[in-house]
């Protein structure tokens, strides 16, 4: 059995209440905090609604750089290894290619945290 309304509905409704019900009555010096709170709710909403886009982008990055064997390492261990390999120069000959792969992974995270920015950067 599901809890209804679900988390996405609650976040969206809370955000609408904040922006439409509360904000117009707040003194101006509190608008910034209210807008930040609305932004936090929007990010959380996009995060729980997000598809497997980010996991997919990370998996692709992993596979391209380390092959199928590295897939079993897990994302966190992989990030640590990639960070260290980049610092020690292991990917020096492939930096532009690694940059493009990282861009796909970063873009997937931006779709959650700030999709407008992606559009502004010409990548949406």
């Amino acid at each position: 059995m599901r809890n209804l309304p679900d988390a996405a509905d609650l976040l969206k409704t809370a955000r609408d209440g904040l922006l439409n019900g509360l904000l117009p009555h707040l003194p101006k010096e509190h608008h910034y905090t209210a807008l930040m709170a609305a932004n936090a709710l929007a990010i959380a909403l996009r995060e729980i609604q997000s598809d497997a886009g980010h996991a997919q982008a990370e998996a692709t990055l992993l596979h391209e750089l380390y092959g199928s064997a590295a897939a079993s390492e897990g994302v966190d261990a992989f990030a640590t290894r990639l960070a260290s390999d980049l610092r020690t120069g292991r990917f020096d000959a492939r930096l532009p290619e690694v940059g493009s792969l990282l861009l796909a992974e970063v873009s997937a995270r931006l779709r959650v945290s700030n999709p407008k920015y992606l559009k502004q950067a010409g990548l949406a």
Partner: protein
């Protein structure tokens, strides 16, 4: 430093400053007529103090700004006594800064304030970034402001080590760019979470570091929001707590980095306008323009710096040291900065390939 109307709730600081001023100026009496907090950083606190001085060399009414550490001060930047010393050097070099007047050094003895502060003359105008970048100024006014910014930087960058009184500022070990790469890696390691995109950019910055080792006095945080403008003219360069010896292009790269355009992406220099007017103002004072070819590299370095600052700010929230919505959201800005880094580096590489 935009004036807020609230009072400070700290009459003791103003009163203490009045007694200090009386002693420093040889006045018969110093009366505090008003005191309010000015918007500052998270690290410093700026108070506008209106005083009436009777007798002595400073007889009359004065609007002064008192700068001290805020209660949640962080030990990552210069202390107030050091900042005062830098400000004096910048003032003497002809940089438009609020004139530094008196430094109070706390000896730790009973009856002291418990922290250092200094007093400077109040500068007119506003440092608010958004009205500046949102088109309040005409194209001509923008170019004139950019030329002024260039001239200020050139005057500052004419100061070279060694300078008496600034021996507390460390000199970079070798090329300033490489010294920064080391510093940023150290800061990422201290936080202890892997950052592949930042490591990718740092490696690129290391492999492409300019070999030059020329250093000058640099402001360290020269950007829109840290200078004041009154009637379209630059009235004061503020916030000197990150000053140091570095490659002068680091200041220019920071000013031109994408993160300081406040949404006005088309205006490369701090959201105000293009590099041509900035370079013209710089050359008018320095006798030669800055190296425009190296600027893209230093813009990447500026973006890198912002990434490291964002990481450190987010960590203050994540660690529980200072739970804060603003700091939390700064952490979620990291992908924006990472995107900037990748795109800026890719653009440089594409440009290079085209000319190869």
């Amino acid at each position: 430093m935009d004036a807020k109307t609230e009072t400070t709730g700290q009459p003791d600081i103003a009163g203490f400053a009045a007694a200090f001023l009386q002693q420093e100026t040889g006045a018969a009496a110093v009366e505090v007529l008003g005191c309010k907090r000015l918007g500052g950083g998270a690290i410093q606190e700026n108070l506008l103090i209106d005083v009436a001085i009777r007798g002595g060399d400073w007889d009359g009414q004065h609007e002064l700004v008192l700068r001290t550490d805020s209660p949640s001060g962080l030990a990552v930047s210069l202390g107030r006594a050091e900042e005062f010393a830098v400000l004096k050097v910048a003032f003497a070099a002809g940089v438009t800064v609020p004139e530094p007047l008196w430094l109070y050094r706390d000896s730790g003895a009973p009856g002291g304030l418990g922290k250092d502060f200094y007093l400077m003359r109040k500068a007119e105008g506003s440092a608010a970034a958004r009205p500046l970048v949102r088109g309040e100024l005409s194209a001509e006014a923008r170019d004139a402001l950019l030329a002024e910014l260039g001239a200020e930087l050139a005057r500052l960058h004419a100061v070279r080590p060694p300078v008496a009184g600034l021996d507390f500022l460390p000199l970079p070990d070798g090329a300033p760019a490489l010294s920064r790469v080391k510093e940023y890696r150290r800061r990422i390691d201290a936080i202890g979470r892997p950052q592949p995109t930042l490591e990718w950019a740092l490696r690129w910055l290391e492999l492409n570091a300019p070999a030059r080792t020329e250093v000058t006095l640099t402001h360290g945080d020269f950007r829109t929001g840290n200078y004041m403008v009154a009637d379209g003219r630059l009235s004061a360069v503020l916030d000197w707590e990150f000053a140091g010896w570095s490659d002068p292009l680091e200041d220019i790269g920071w000013l031109c980095a994408r993160c300081w355009r406040f949404g006005a992406w088309e205006h490369e220099v701090g959201g105000i306008g293009g590099t041509a007017a900035l370079a013209r103002g710089y050359a008018a004072v320095a006798g030669q323009p800055f190296d425009l070819e190296l600027l893209p590299y230093w813009k990447v370095m500026g973006t890198m710096r912002w990434a490291v600052i964002a990481l450190m700010q987010a960590e203050r929230h994540l660690s529980g040291e200072q739970p804060s919505l603003e700091l939390a959201l700064t952490g979620r800005m990291l992908p924006e900065i990472e995107l900037d880094l990748i795109q800026e580096i890719q653009t440089i590489e594409e440009e290079r390939a085209r000319h190869a």
